[in-house]
């Protein structure tokens, strides 16, 4: 594997996952390279969020190989994966409501990182994040519970960035927020990408995914049914109709 010229940041082979007794994922294969924004698409219940949770090690039962930066992490628990540089932004926000904005960021803080080749990774400090999210900068002392849904969404992303992740797993960023906030999210993702961040996002909103991503995987009933660039997906009417139902 190391012989490849540009080793994938994340390589997933044959990922199976269960919720209780029900198997949700069946042999999912995917990869993300450095600097890419990849969308994981599909209908509700297709297994998008389950995939991200399994990658983070948050499911009790999963099987298959997950290699991150060339290292097998399939046996690791969530905090170990996070310390290796996997960042997770959950779909239901989950900000710490009794903690202030600044404290929420502090929880996410991890040491600065360097890529294995020695180059500096994208590292964040609170001032840098307040610049990226001016809203948050104006309310550093406010408890997370007293923010609007859109502001909470931003805070969750910022909190994960504090861990200086090599790869960000972004779960349904557009779900349940106003269109104007969805647009802000899209612009934020494009900004991060411009700075060299790598992102794997799960998304139902085709317009949103087409706007921000380079490549897409389409999931249906826990299996990958399509893999290709956004242009290929846009051209493939059959896949769009069958699995995305516009």
């Amino acid at each position: 594997m190391n012989a490849l010229p540009t080793p994938a940041l994340l390589e997933v082979n044959g990922l199976d996952a269960w919720y209780g007794a029900a198997q949700i994922l069946f042999g999912v294969n995917l990869n993300v390279r450095r600097g890419e924004v990849v969308a994981l698409m599909g209908r509700n219940g297709a297994g998008k969020s389950t995939t991200l949770k399994a990658l983070m090690g948050m499911l009790d039962r999963h099987r298959g190989q997950v290699r991150f930066l060339g290292q097998d992490v399939s046996q690791q628990v969530p905090f170990q994966r996070a310390r290796l540089g996997l960042g997770f932004v959950p779909e239901d926000r989950r900000v710490f409501t009794h903690l202030s904005v600044a404290e929420n960021l502090e929880v996410g803080r991890q040491p600065e990182r360097r890529w294995p080749d020695g180059s500096a990774a994208l590292n964040w400090t609170p001032p840098a994040l307040y610049e990226l999210f001016p809203n948050l900068g104006a309310m550093q002392g406010r408890p997370g519970g007293q923010m609007s849904g859109g502001e909470q969404q931003m805070l969750t992303v910022a909190r994960t960035l504090m861990g200086n992740p090599f790869l960000i797993l972004l779960d349904e960023p557009s779900e349940g927020v106003a269109p104007v906030i969805v647009e802000q999210m899209a612009q934020m993702i494009l900004q991060l990408k411009a700075r060299g961040a790598s992102i794997l996002l799960s998304e139902q909103n085709v317009h949103f995914a087409e706007w921000v991503s380079d490549r897409a995987y389409v999931l249906e009933k826990g299996q990958i049914r399509f893999e290709g660039s956004m242009a290929e997906l846009a051209a493939d009417e059959a896949v769009r109709r069958a699995y995305l139902t516009l």
Binding site: G20, M56, M58, V77, P78, F79, A82, R83, F88, P90, R94, F96, T97, H98, L99, E103, N104, E106, V107, G108, R109, Q110, R159, T160, G163
Partner: protein
Amino acid sequence: MEFSALLAQLLNGLAEASSLFLVAAGLSLIFGVTRIVNFAHGSFYMLGLYVAYSTVEYLVGRLGPAGFWVGLVVAPVAVGAFGALVEIVLLRRIYKAPELFQLLGTFALVLVINDATLYLWGPEELLGRRAPGLAGSISLLGRQFPTYNLFLMVIGPLVLGLVWLLLARTRWGVLVRAATEDRQMLGALGVNQAWLFTAVFALGALLAGLGGAVQLPREPANLALDLRSIGDAFVVVVVGGMGSLPGAYLAALLIAEIKALCVGIGSVHVLGLDFSLSKLTLVVEFLVMAVVLVVRPWGLLGKPQAGSRNSAPAEAPLRPAGNGLRWVALVVFVALAALPLLQTWLPYASVLAQDVLVSVLFAVSLHFIMGPGGLHSFGHAAYFGLGAYGAGILLKVLTLPMPLAFTFAPLVAGLGALLFGWFCVRLSGVYLAMLTLAFSQIVWSVVFQWEAVTGGSNGLTGVWPAAWLGDTAYYYLTLVLVAASVLLVRRIVFSPFGYALRAARDSALRADAIGIDVMRVRWAAFVVAGLFAGLAGALFVFSKGGVSPDVMAVGKSVDGLVMVLLGGIQQLVGPLLGASVFSVLQDSIMRATDYWRAVFGGVILLLVLVFPHGIAGFFQGLGNAWARLAARKPALLPREKRA
């Protein structure tokens, strides 16, 4: 009374408050982060005192007077380390179990630690030496005030300040506060929560140990301290508001000062009657708690509790009993009916069976509100006791004939439930549990102190059944009434009322939106449970010929909880199994060894670790696995038939 005497009492109250606060702060911290209601916290307090006694004795011999202060530091640290060990070895295995199961686990720990202390330090009380340098007293407005109390007065606020700084100003504190909200998210952000939990638990144990250690010159170490201090600590934490440290200090102060006032004022003369306020000290904290919870349901400085993120999986829908279960029930009934005939060979069997039957009814009544109702009562013994005392008082004091006394007794308990239930059903979770506990303690203390009617600590004697209900007949009466009650409760659970109760438990929001009056349904269920517990109490008193206040003490309520949890809270047969196993185990272990508590605690721990869903849940799991296996075979059968 004199102002100076009152002042001295109030200063004493300040010193008391410090000690109360230290124990409660640790409990609150542990609950906040791990969501475990640590019953063993009082045991850490007790250990703190014992360990301080030994280390101080040893160190004073080596280091002279300075050894006292070193010992006072070493002891809490040792208790903290022990707490860490407990967390790593035991609690880590049960974080994913339902909340009440964790409670059961820590309760078992209380039993084990108590017997271990008995083994190591013996049964005698141990009074520590005076604090060097602070052994004397100072003069305040002409009264002597112990210098050591000044030290105690300072240490409470000091610890409050330090812990507050730790939580508010350090990264560790931020992580701890985040963990109280969402542990899973914390892990996904790269925090190793396992060690965070261990550290919090150790800190909590250390604070409890400190609370015990500083009592060394004032209070002899003894084996009753664990349950007494856990009771006090629960009250303080709940009155202050779960998870609020300033609230805990405020509550400790409030309770200690009110107690001090009661002692200080002595008796008052109102409307020609003499009231002895000092008698109130036994119950004053519970009165305060009841008042606070009724007025402020989340305590003085507490906030409404957010739902815990790791709730237990939903219970499976109830199914009517299958033929198998019906046959088992019938066989058990016939076997129980046959017991008196086997008197020659098993002379003790029907006596034990009588006790088991009463326990079963008690457990079934508690399970009715805990399982289908989701109302966790920590004071169910009150209704058992009201039934027992009700029967005794109706018979002995009001001289009613036995059958009438027996019939009215459950109604006495039902009335109690009607009154207390109205307040209780307005709360939920730990607050509900604590309010039920408060009411049961209030009833207990009334019974304990109202000697003219209840016989005080001696209780009532000579409460025997009518002559025509001689021993075997009374056993059959018990058998029939318990069996009928069990069937009736089952019937209710399957009726609209039982369903409404479960609906209110599953989602009060939805129940309200489809027009169910959630409070009223719960209140009605509370009364039903009270009635059946009262019947169990009445059956109990006539089988023993008397009753003492012990039947409504905290221990009895905890027994009920253990029975229900042991059996499995999600199954209707749970309380039957749990009560039977509990009673037989307790009976046989108690007769076999002096260290029965430790053995019993060990057995409960084992059950908690092996059967995290209770005994009935375990069998249901086995049954499901069997059904799955069996489901594969029938596919072959039709073909074989045809062939």
